[in-house]
């Protein structure tokens, strides 16, 4: 199986929609995906991931027009779906003076969703992650009342084109400090379910967030709201449409 180190020699499959007539092979870093027609109205699905795990499925379908969509999705499924929140630990802290604002781009981890499209149906079939070692959990808060989050150590990006293909997408974060004293930001915690993903070939970007640090009564809080990206990149399908929207969250500053 081809790894990230072979990436310069191998052409991996781009995001997008593929016709599934007879056989289809999609190659991602550390991951091989194969579709094969096994009868007039059934396909087999085979996927081997970077951890040596093999998934095989049979896909019965009456339709003659079957397509496969490969898109970036929110990084919430590996190793199991447990939360809607992500915890981005910045590799470099950001110092923000009183009544000031900062605008940064960060590399946010992604997963890759495989969707089955036929007739009027658009169904999630499987998901993969090309960087399982950077897909872990963390806790924000205390063990009894805290929030379980997907955890990732992230670095700053230069712009929307700076993402690592298949591994992360670029997210724009605006941080506004309306408090009368300076703040140091080392981590960002937010529900990622309201952030859409977009793709172009093998690159992806994620809707941004705006963090406003402000005083409410006697408490200093950080308010986090999603901010849609204005882009011409293709909008990725949503993996789990059943998740309720959170819209925004607030947390007490430490």
């Amino acid at each position: 199986m081809k790894t990230m180190s072979d990436a310069s020699e191998i052409t991996f499959s781009n995001y997008g929609i593929y016709d599934l007539s007879d056989n289809l092979e999609l190659l991602l870093p550390n991951t091989l995906i194969k579709f094969q027609r096994i009868s007039g109205n059934a396909f087999s699905y085979f996927r081997e991931n970077s951890e040596g795990e093999i998934i095989e499925k049979i896909i019965p379908t009456e339709s003659n027009d079957v397509k496969i969509e490969l898109v970036p999705i929110q990084p919430l499924n590996h190793p199991a779906k447990r939360t809607n929140y992500v915890f981005l630990k910045l590799d470099k802290e950001i110092h923000l003076g009183e009544n000031s604002a900062a605008s940064i781009f960060v590399h946010c981890p992604i997963e890759i969703g495989i969707f089955l499209i036929y007739d009027d149906n658009h169904e999630p079939l499987d998901w993969v992650t090309c960087n399982p070692l950077n897909s872990r959990f963390s806790l924000y808060g205390s063990p009894d009342t805290g929030t379980l989050c997907k955890y990732a150590e992230v670095s700053l990006a230069t712009d929307y084109d700076d993402s690592v293909s298949y591994v992360n997408g670029v997210m724009h974060i605006v941080i506004e400090n309306t408090l009368s004293f300076a703040q140091t930001i080392s981590k960002v915690i937010f529900p990622i379910t309201d952030n859409n993903l977009y793709y172009n070939n093998s690159k992806s970007i994620i809707d941004g967030i705006k963090i406003t640090m402000k005083k409410r009564a006697a408490v200093n809080i950080a308010e986090v709201k999603p901010t849609p990206v204005d882009t011409e990149w293709a909008l990725a399908s949503i993996w789990d449409k059943s998740i309720d929207s959170v819209h925004h969250m607030e947390m007490t500053l430490e």
């Binding site: 190793p79 447990r82 630990k89 959990f137 963390s138 806790l139 924000y140 063990p143 805290g146 955890y151």
Partner: protein
């Protein structure tokens, strides 16, 4: 014909003013009430219960069922011309007698109500009752008793008064839980290096272990044969099987790969001449 039959039934007195017709009407009311209660319970379970928490659904279901039965019973008594005020007085005295006689039953009933109101644990929670040595999944808090499915698959019925007054340790109330294991390394091994290799192995091969709080290593004891290191890791509350049972194996693998000795118990014997 039918009217004549009803007329004759209404004239057939059993006891006092109680006639066969009124008894028949009462029977129909009670039967109708039971059937209605069962249908209402069935419809509730089919259409509404799936969208509610299981313990709430069970309580509402019982409320609907017994509520309809009580209304039916009141309809039955009024159709028989029974004056309930006399029964109330007699019932009060009777209740005191019954209360003494069935103290434990009443205690279980009241405890069950308190359990439903206080909710120390809810349906599906994994709980531990250390006083009774029972651990498992809470299946139901019933009227008189609660049921816990133990990890070996058997179901234990616990009277509600014992359940209510015992210590209840909830294993699923917190967001995360902690697993631990003790591993010993030889005295000539580098402790810092041993901790480093164990930490790396945990973070690489145990995806359910939390990065924050990160795995913790405490030198537990300078034992007879080894330096004992106590390892603590946190994991999402529902993923015990992905942490505790495999933690020790992961630690051993890490130490084996780094050629760090896990010593057997040993004793150095000095002879008198030495």
């Amino acid at each position: 014909m039918v009217l004549e039959l009803l007329q004759s039934l209404s004239e057939m007195q059993l006891v006092g003013e109680l006639t066969v017709l009124s008894l028949l009407i009462g029977g129909i009311i009670m039967a109708g009430g039971i059937i209605t209660a069962k249908i209402a319970k069935l419809l509730f379970h089919k259409y509404y219960a799936p969208s509610l928490p299981k313990d709430t659904a069970q309580n509402i279901s019982k409320l609907i069922y017994f509520g309809i039965l009580i209304v039916s019973f009141l309809g039955f008594t009024s159709s028989q011309g029974i004056d309930l005020s006399g029964i109330m007085v007699a019932g009060g005295i009777f209740a005191v007698v019954i209360g003494f006689a069935t103290q434990s039953v009443v205690s279980n009933l009241i405890s069950g109500l308190f359990l439903i109101v206080e909710k120390p644990a809810k349906h599906g929670d994994t709980i531990d009752l250390p006083d009774m040595g029972i651990s498992g999944t809470l299946l139901d808090i019933g009227t008189f008793s609660s049921k816990v499915r133990r990890f070996d698959g058997t179901v234990t019925r616990i009277p509600n008064d014992k359940f209510f007054t015992s210590n209840i340790r909830s294993l699923t109330l917190s967001t995360v839980r902690r697993a631990d294991a003790v591993v010993g390394i030889s005295y000539h091994s580098d402790i810092e290096n041993a901790i480093l290799v164990m930490k790396n192995e945990i973070l690489q091969t145990m995806p359910f272990v939390l990065q924050i709080p990160e795995p913790e290593f405490r030198i537990d004891e300078l034992g007879d044969s080894s330096v004992n290191i106590h390892v603590f890791v946190w994991y999402p509350k529902d993923d015990w099987s992905q942490a505790q049972p495999i933690l020790l194996a992961t630690l051993k693998r890490a130490l084996d790969n780094a050629s760090i000795e896990i010593p057997f118990p040993q004793r150095v014997i000095w002879s008198g001449k030495d």
